[in-house]
């Protein structure tokens, strides 16, 4: 078969993937001078200023927190869905995916209505004569938004690995005298690790780089890495610093991909999930 069909894409790829990446690298590793630009690591050094370290720390903390919550809620959910508690598994799975079809911004916006000072939760509390809660525009609201938006990223990879586990292996463990806790700890969980790793990465990375959730539910007072990049490009206009943060992000991604492929081994097709 012909390979010439590749050419339109090759041109596109170079123009819109490779060249932009090099431009990001260029801006990250240079600083503007009167006569053009000069190579420098200054942009990366700025990252270690206390305010930015604080942003990095907050992003990592919130992302990690939401990932753990997603895992705690998501793993049992995936297990139940992969098991035989429901007759029509595909319908349950579909119901799980349907909310994902809603626009991501609308899903985040929906929480405004619920968490607001005069929102659903506080009206309910007032009716019960309880003091009102200030949830919106707190770190808790940001974490809630992340968990809500990214939970399916955790459940689906784990579900897909769990449902492929050979029933025979589980039964064999039981026959050989393991109780259900041991079966889980020594057979099911280790076998589901690739799904867990893939789920953790798929929740952690978007949670780390989001700027929408923190802006809408955090009210702009919780700057995360994503917000920092956005500000550098759209408000401050400091492309060098913005690019250097992006480069750090790319490196982080590549590292986590390396860790993931270490766990996943051969199965390349699963990567899309």
């Amino acid at each position: 078969m012909k390979r010439s069909t590749l050419f339109p894409y090759l041109i596109w790829m170079v123009l819109f993937i490779v060249v932009p990446m090099f431009l990001v690298l260029y801006y990250a590793f240079t600083v503007p001078t009167e006569s053009g630009a000069t190579w420098s690591l200054e942009n990366f050094a700025r990252f270690f200023e206390p305010i930015y370290l604080k942003v990095l720390w907050r992003s990592l903390r919130l992302a990690l927190f939401s990932t753990v919550i997603c895992l705690i809620i998501g793993y049992p959910a995936a297990m139940v869905m992969a098991g035989n508690a429901f007759e029509r598994k595909s319908v349950v799975l579909l119901l799980f995916v349907v909310p994902m079809w809603m626009n991501f911004l609308l899903r985040t916006y929906a929480w405004l209505t619920i968490l607001e000072r005069n929102g659903v939760i506080n009206v309910l509390l007032a009716n019960l004569n309880l003091p009102s809660l200030n949830i919106l525009y707190t770190e808790g609201a940001v974490v809630l938004g992340m968990v809500y938006n990214f939970l399916p990223f955790m459940v689906l990879p784990i579900y897909s690995v769990l449902s492929k586990i050979d029933r025979g292996v589980v039964e064999a463990a039981g026959d050989l005298g393991a109780n259900s806790l041991q079966v889980f700890a020594k057979v099911i969980f280790p076998l589901s690790l690739p799904g867990v790793v893939s789920g953790v990465t798929m929740v952690f990375m978007p949670a780390l780089t989001t700027f929408v959730i923190s802006r809408l539910l955090g009210g702009g007072q919780f700057t995360l890495i994503g917000n920092l990049i956005e500000q550098q490009f759209l408000v401050v206009g400091d492309w060098g610093f913005g690019s250097s943060i992006s480069v750090v992000m790319i490196v982080l991604i590549l590292l986590s991909m390396a860790i993931m492929s270490f766990f996943e081994g051969e199965e390349k097709d699963v990567a899309l999930w």
Binding site: L10, W12, W101, E116
Partner: protein
């Protein structure tokens, strides 16, 4: 008992997933601006929604860019997948790794890299840059949907077509393309969904005056709650739900017609994948 607990747990998770959407839908009929109060049933927000010029024009842009970028990305991506399938060694590995970049990179990184490119080359930010960006982030998904179908393809089919007197282009068009059609359709739908749902990349690569639905929602939501957005959400969610029900009924019918069940199941997984891509 255990089964009951298991089921309840899933229902609880579903409640968490659906509650915000349900609240939005209920409040879209609420005749009162303040949230907690129920001021009676109204369709006022729906009327205002359709009279809102900004929302309507961004809806048009979203659909236009969604369709155009999906079609162009599908054409380039399908041809690319055929080319990739037939290349070997280092070349193939290199192309695949670069293709994975936009999929793996955080959206914001892809977004700013494209923005730098457009500003650097002095292309005016607007419709054109938006379209180019959407095609760019859609192509990898088309390639990744078409490649598995090519792997399943019997490679002697193409040779047979040539032996029987087909030109290479003719064989491609008459033999290969029809065989990999399910993958192409999945890719097209995936690309369309991704394009419609995209916010981050559009936000950075659009110029003044051109706005997609996501961008409009963001700028409205930033200013607080707006009942028109609730009405919009209700319409969009109902639309998606109807679409899913239709697709499911069609699948169920096809399965009943006696086509082999495995194929149906496979397609259902494809549909899920498409839905999941909608994130």
């Amino acid at each position: 008992m255990v089964r009951f607990l298991k089921r309840s747990y899933i229902y609880l998770v579903f409640a968490f997933l659906y509650m915000p959407i349900a609240v939005l839908m209920v409040y879209s009929f609420n005749d009162s601006r303040s949230r907690g109060m129920w001021g009676g049933f109204t369709l006022r927000w729906y009327v205002e929604l359709f009279q809102d010029r900004t929302i309507m024009s961004s809806l048009y842009s979203t659909l236009f860019i969604g369709v155009t970028s999906a079609v162009i990305a599908t054409i380039i991506g399908t041809l690319a997948a055929i080319g990739i399938h037939n290349s070997r060694g280092i070349q193939k590995k290199l192309i695949m790794n670069v293709t994975y970049l936009p999929v793996l990179n955080p959206e914001i990184v892809t977004a700013i890299s494209l923005m730098i490119l457009f500003v650097f080359t002095k292309v005016r930010l607007g419709y054109l840059t938006l379209l180019l960006s959407h095609i760019t982030f859609n192509i990898p998904y088309v390639i990744l949907s078409v490649l598995p179908k090519l792997r399943q393809l019997n490679k002697h089919l193409y040779e047979a077509a040539l032996d029987l007197g087909c030109t290479p282009a003719g064989a491609l068009w008459k033999v290969i393309i029809p065989e990999i059609m399910p993958g192409i359709i999945t890719g097209l739908l995936l690309a369309f969904t991704l394009s419609i749902d995209d916010f981050v990349i559009s936000f950075f690569t659009t110029g003044s005056g051109v706005s997609t639905l996501s961008i409009t929602i963001y700028s409205m939501a930033r200013r607080g709650i707006n009942p028109k957005i609730n009405a919009l959400s209700t319409i969009m969610f109902t639309f998606v739900l109807l679409l899913l029900i239709i697709v499911n009924i069609r699948q169920a019918r096809e399965q009943r017609k006696g086509r082999n069940g495995k194929n149906g199941q496979k397609r259902q997984m494809d549909a899920l994948r498409t839905g999941f891509g909608g994130v």
